[in-house]
């Protein structure tokens, strides 16, 4: 009758050991292939311009990224340190997606609370979500100024999808769980706090994953237009003076920043899901 987790066998059979070995080998193959792909890409990128297969003016070389990074560490009178740029972008992204999560959850809760409100706003939300928010970059610049427009774009690009995803998560909570709470006389607020919100945690985490990427897009695009700091600004600046090594370095840092954010969210996810 009892269903308890299986413990590891005390005396593993040879077949089991063989299975473990195969599992490990399979895992190793995947990792090696992943690494090989990365190396192949970098080698191709390094070698192709040197053999005059592509114009190095357009692509630069991967070997220039690290020296460029070191060179840009120091602030000059014309240019802030690359760390300042990275920090500006990261901060704007984190602020943007945190604001999107908090505001989006609050709005989704309001829509859940007042069904009539949802019915009224539904078409507008869908259109607002489908609209390319980047079209608003110049407008935001005029309305909000250089710095705030970046935060604004980061929020705008992720807010509507957040509302829609979380609201549908709320709708997906088993109505029988809500009925159960009602049999105990739960108020609407109690149903929200004790059933709907905790029942939507997987959706909240999925939304967080989507938003981390989207907010970064919003920030970089915002920086193209208006910033004097940030990786988006560096990319714009580097391409204008045709210094592809700056562009490539900034893009590499973007890749690292987005990987780190993804890792942080995955860690949060496994921490939360261990309780389920």
């Amino acid at each position: 009758m009892s269903k308890v987790e299986t413990a590891g066998p005390v005396n593993p059979s040879p077949q089991y050991l063989e299975w473990l070995r195969r599992e490990r080998r399979g895992h190793l193959t995947v990792r090696t292939t992943q690494l090989a792909l990365l190396v192949a890409f970098l080698v191709l990128w390094e070698v192709a311009p040197r053999l005059d297969l592509i114009n190095p003016l357009f692509t630069s070389y991967p070997s220039t990224i690290w020296p460029t990074f070191l060179e840009m560490l120091n602030a000059t009178p014309q240019q802030a340190s690359i760390l300042t740029h990275t920090w500006a972008t990261t901060l704007a992204t984190v602020v943007g997606f945190t604001a999107a999560m908090v505001l989006g959850t609050a709005i989704a809760a309001a829509l859940w609370w007042w069904n009539a409100l949802y019915k009224v706003l539904d078409p507008y939300l869908v259109v607002a979500n489908a609209l390319p928010k980047t079209a608003f970059v110049p407008l935001f610049y005029i309305w909000l100024g250089a710095t705030l427009s970046i935060y604004g774009m980061s929020l705008a690009i992720s807010l509507f999808i957040t509302i829609l995803m979380i609201y549908s998560g709320f709708q997906g909570v088993d109505p029988n769980k809500i009925k159960l709470a009602q049999t105990f006389g739960a108020t609407k607020g109690q149903i929200l706090i004790k059933v709907v919100l905790p029942g939507s945690v997987p959706t909240l985490i999925a939304t967080l994953k989507v938003n981390a990427g989207l907010s970064l897009v919003g920030v970089v695009v915002g920086e193209f237009q208006s910033a004097t700091y940030g990786l988006g600004y560096l990319i714009q600046y580097g391409s204008q003076i045709f210094k592809m090594n700056i562009v490539m370095t900034a893009i590499t840092i973007l890749a690292i920043v987005s990987s780190l954010m993804y890792l942080a969210i995955s860690w949060l996810e496994s921490a939360v899901m261990r309780r389920r």
Binding site: T183, G185, Q190
Partner: protein, 267 residues
């Protein structure tokens, strides 16, 4: 609350209760003209085919639905919303997967704003009595179906209701667990002198557990018949559900009810 009618008052009473659902396609009459009374401590089963409004009837008694006609009374007082005196066990356990077993069991007390220390102690005692003492801090997914349904029973009884409504509480279980758990639940409810109303489509379950079986007609559900279930035992006590299944009376009741439900298939 003082009983207005004095002794002999029904614990649960339905007076000419009707319920219609409203939808864009029109009205659906789920229940019509239902009148019945359940005495304190009585164990009543309500049977009928699926869709006859059995579960709706329990939702009305629990107060999460209001009748469109007639009145539902618990302890002589019209039901206007969920009451602490009435506990409701649903078809499945619906345990919250993010809460431990103990935290699930105290959910009702928590919602009702009861003293949580006392509720925790009560829930732990109930769970221990049901053989789950070592699983208090486990998560629902670590338990089997029968164990989970016992947690659901503890959750229902932790708020100390006088009336317990059971909506096919064993239907999600395999047949062996189902019969074993029916024994346990019937024993627990009788010992604690709860008034119990069990809704099921399983005739055997109804006859073996209840003192009275009420048959509902097809939609719109009405009371078709009302059978007292009596067993002649040596000690005069009612046998446990599993033992009741082996009595000669069981077969008699079973066949009578079977035929009554059969008539509906043809008619």
């Amino acid at each position: 609350m003082q009983a207005p009618a004095g002794a002999g008052m029904a614990k649960v009473e339905l007076r000419d209760v009707g319920l219609r659902y409203f939808g864009p396609e029109g009205e659906t009459e789920a229940l019509k003209g239902i009148s019945l009374a359940v005495a304190p401590g009585e164990f009543v089963a309500i049977i009928g085919q699926s869709g006859c409004g059995k579960s709706t009837l329990l939702s009305l008694i629990s107060g999460i639905l209001q009748p469109t006609d007639g009145a539902v009374l618990v302890d002589g007082v019209p039901v206007s919303g969920p009451s602490r005196n009435v506990g409701y066990m649903l078809q499945q356990d619906y345990l919250f997967e993010w809460r431990t077993i103990l935290d699930n069991a105290v959910l009702g007390a928590e919602i009702q704003g009861a003293d949580m220390n006392a509720a925790r102690a009560r829930a732990a005692a109930l769970l221990t009595r049901y053989g789950l003492g070592q699983f208090l801090n486990h998560l629902p997914r670590q338990l089997s179906g029968g164990m989970r349904q016992r947690v659901a029973l503890a959750r229902t009884l932790c708020t100390e209701p006088d009336v317990v409504l059971l909506d096919e509480p064993f239907s999600a279980l395999d047949s062996q667990t189902r019969i074993a758990l029916a024994d346990e639940v019937a024993e627990i409810l009788r010992r604690e002198r709860k008034t119990a109303i069990l809704v099921t489509h399983d005739i055997g379950e109804a006859v073996s557990m209840a003192e009275r079986v009420i048959v509902l007609s097809r939609r719109p559900g009405r009371v078709k018949s009302d059978h007292a279930i009596r067993f002649n035992t040596a000690d005069g006590k009612r046998p446990a559900p599993f033992a009741a299944r082996n009595t000669p009376e069981f077969n008699g009741y079973f066949n009578a009810l079977w035929q009554e439900l059969e008539v509906h298939v043809e008619g």
